[in-house]
């Protein structure tokens, strides 16, 4: 395929030492990702502790500082964490804080770093959004909000993504959410049957287009009064 412009690249980071499959990984301890020490030196107040589990470095940080730290990890030439792998959260059985987890990769240095921020579940769950740093955080944060109810401050469009917008039963991946759902089957059926079948589009979508003008007048009035629509 030489004439089509496809080239055969060996590695994303040819200068870095060739990686090997990890074997006999230790449960605790082992080599710490050098970014953890750099992060602790640069932001002494924001890093609470560092641990290495199964060969992966976890840096525990203060939730409110998350975006500053991640911005620095992304921008600093000695770190270059250009790739956001995942944004998710963990809630443990039997109480305790809820942890927001960021998985980052530095492709140039072949590093993997996990950042964790603990949130008190008795207060509002708020962390800064990393969307200004990584556009890929858009849906990942929306999913995390949808499943755990964590508000990502600064996210441009934080709304439910996997569940529908009028879903009222709460946040499914929280530990206090029963596996069968919070409402009874009959209540779920009642709600499904009473949904407005006309409401295919959200107000946001209707407002963007001139299609709004073509709607029947009574529907326009209803939507204009803030009736929640959309799936």
């Amino acid at each position: 395929m030489s004439d089509t412009g496809i080239r055969m690249a060996g590695h994303a980071a040819p200068d870095a030492p060739a990686p090997v499959t990890p074997h006999q990984v230790a449960h605790r301890g082992g080599e710490t990702n050098p970014s953890a020490a750099a992060l602790a030196a640069r932001f002494p107040g924001a890093v609470t502790r560092t641990e290495v589990t199964w060969g992966e470095t976890t840096v525990h940080i203060v939730a409110a500082q998350a975006r500053h730290l991640i911005q620095w990890l992304h921008d600093d030439p000695s770190q270059q964490y250009e790739y956001l792998v995942d944004v998710t959260a963990v809630e443990y059985r039997g109480g305790g804080p809820l942890e927001v987890v960021w998985h980052l990769r530095s492709i140039a240095y072949r590093r993997f770093l996990r950042l964790k921020a603990a949130l008190d579940t008795t207060k509002d769950l708020v962390v800064p959004s990393v969307w200004p740093v990584y556009k890929g955080a858009d849906w990942l944060e929306r999913e995390c909000y949808d499943m755990f109810g964590i508000h990502f401050e600064g996210h441009p469009d934080l709304r439910r993504i996997l569940m529908w917008e009028q879903y009222k039963e709460g946040y499914p991946l929280r530990k206090d959410f029963p596996l069968r759902g919070r409402f009874s089957r009959s209540e779920q059926l009642t709600q499904a049957l009473s949904a407005n079948p006309e409401a295919h589009y959200s107000m946001g979508e209707l407002r963007i287009a001139d299609a709004f003008d073509d709607l029947p007048k009574e529907m326009k009035v209803r939507l204009g009064h803030g009736e929640v629509t959309g799936e």
Binding site: A9, W54, E82, L173, L179
Partner: protein, 435 residues
């Protein structure tokens, strides 16, 4: 995007004296040089801001599942795209918190269902890290074979369905015929075609049956011919090139920032492949290349995937050559069930069997994220254990979910018909996106 030249062939112009097909460039410039097939320039007349709202899906054959796109159109040009997902959401991650580790494996079949055995392998790799066990050499190679077969299936489905989306029916038949051959192999090995559940924590469901390796060798020998046929049919086909080139282009920086992975990222020129950069299953000892594009458009994504099929065949050849003898499952009674004959005849084995099934193996407290290169991109399983037999959290890092999140950026400014091509090029599987 920099313009580039792709020589295209028209299949209808016949053969020359030597019997070779005559290649007729579609466009030449004044100097007689072949000029690039430029992307659609916005020649649409402006109708004074008469925007239209159009809905595609959730039930539409070209959305590859229950994806719904709400598009705002100016004439035929997309101004804005609002995707809606979640129609297949079944709460896999929630259910996983109520299941033992081996019981989660059937759920991994059903998320990215074109890559079931690849997901099985990825899941147990993560679980084995959490348990701190090392698999046997034979199992390592068998899993490489499983993952590459699974990559071949997924890419074949992609080539077939995408060519149908753009009006080419024949490659669909070829690719699905080959896919059938792979499914026959997987069925002989695991007993199932789609929902394989082919792995267990610490090993595989079974060793490969007698004679299976010969069937695999046969497939590896004959399959490259089909790749060449698809390549010959599509790569220089005027309609194919015209309908794919320049569409949905993402630059390397942008693709990284959007978190794209797999062929989507590599088509944009970033040579990031988990098999090379964060290897698992001893992938660093296999000799294979990572194809990388430059323009990051639909055409490059196609080229990268076709080349990946060839590289998968190379890996399979090496894996067949090095497959060692020996046990498949590890020798660890904490994880592996006793043989059925013993479980029904010896009291100790029966108790052992009962306790493993009813209580399940317990990993130490800890967490692990293990990623593999799935056909769609970086697929990772993040698992957190609190020392009980069920995970506290089982998180799937879905590559096509993140890849699809860039679709509003990719389709804006393109024509409505190009939305179908761009959407197809992402290689989405809604089972994985909605989970």
């Amino acid at each position: 995007m920099a313009t580039r030249t792709v020589e295209v062939a028209l299949a209808t112009t016949g053969l020359d004296g030597a019997g070779n097909p005559v290649r007729t460039p579609l466009v030449t410039d004044a100097g007689g040089k072949v000029v690039p097939v430029t992307p659609h320039d916005a020649a649409e007349p402006d109708f004074g801001g008469e925007h239209m709202l159009i809905n595609i899906g959730p039930q539409h054959p070209a959305t590859h599942g229950v994806l719904r796109l709400v598009l705002e159109l100016d004439g035929e040009t997309v101004v804005r795209c609002v995707p809606h997902v979640g129609y297949l959401h079944c709460g896999f991650e929630k259910i996983g918190e109520y299941r033992q580790y081996n019981q989660i494996i059937p759920w991994t079949d059903r998320e990215d269902y074109l890559n079931s055995i690849g997901n099985n392998v990825a899941f147990v790799l993560s679980a084995e890290r959490l348990f701190g066990v090392e698999i046997t050499p034979r199992c390592t190679v068998l899993r490489v074979i499983a993952m590459e077969l699974s990559r071949i299936i997924s890419h074949l489905v992609w080539v077939g369905t995408t060519s149908i989306d753009m009006g080419a029916f024949t490659p669909f038949l070829w690719s699905f015929q080959e896919r059938e051959n792979v499914y026959r192999l997987l069925e002989a090995w695991t007993g199932a075609r789609l929902t394989t559940s082919g792995t267990r924590v610490g090993g595989m469901i079974a060793d490969i049956p007698a004679g299976w390796l010969d069937d695999l060798k046969n497939f590896v020998r004959t399959f490259p011919r089909t790749i060449d046929e698809v390549d010959a049919m599509l790569t220089k086909h005027a309609i194919w090139v015209g309908r794919t080139i320049g569409l949905g282009a993402m630059s390397a920086d942008e693709a990284l920032n959007y978190g794209l992975s797999g062929p989507m990222l590599r088509a944009s020129g970033v040579a990031y492949d988990v098999r090379k950069d964060f290897p698992y299953l001893d992938y660093e000892t296999y000799d294979f290349e990572v194809p990388v594009g430059s323009a990051g458009d639909v055409y490059d994504r196609y080229l990268v995937r076709v080349e990946e099929l060839r590289q998968s065949v190379r890996i399979l050849e090496q894996a067949i050559a090095r497959l060692p003898d020996g046990p498949v499952n590890i020798d660890d009674p904490r994880l592996i069930l006793p043989p059925k004959s013993k479980a029904t005849s010896q009291m100790e084995s029966m108790i052992h069997h009962f306790k493993l099934v009813m209580e399940g193996p317990r990993p130490p407290i800890g967490e692990a994220y293990v990623a593999v290169e799935s056909p769609k991109g970086e697929k990772g399983y993040y698992m957190v254990s609190d020392g009980t037999s069920k995970p506290v959290r089982w998180r799937i890092r879905p590559p096509s979910f993140v890849n699809l999140s860039a679709i509003p950026r990719m389709v804006e400014g393109h024509l409505l018909s190009d939305v179908i091509a761009i959407n197809a090029s992402i290689d989405i599987v809604m089972g994985e996106i909605d989970r």
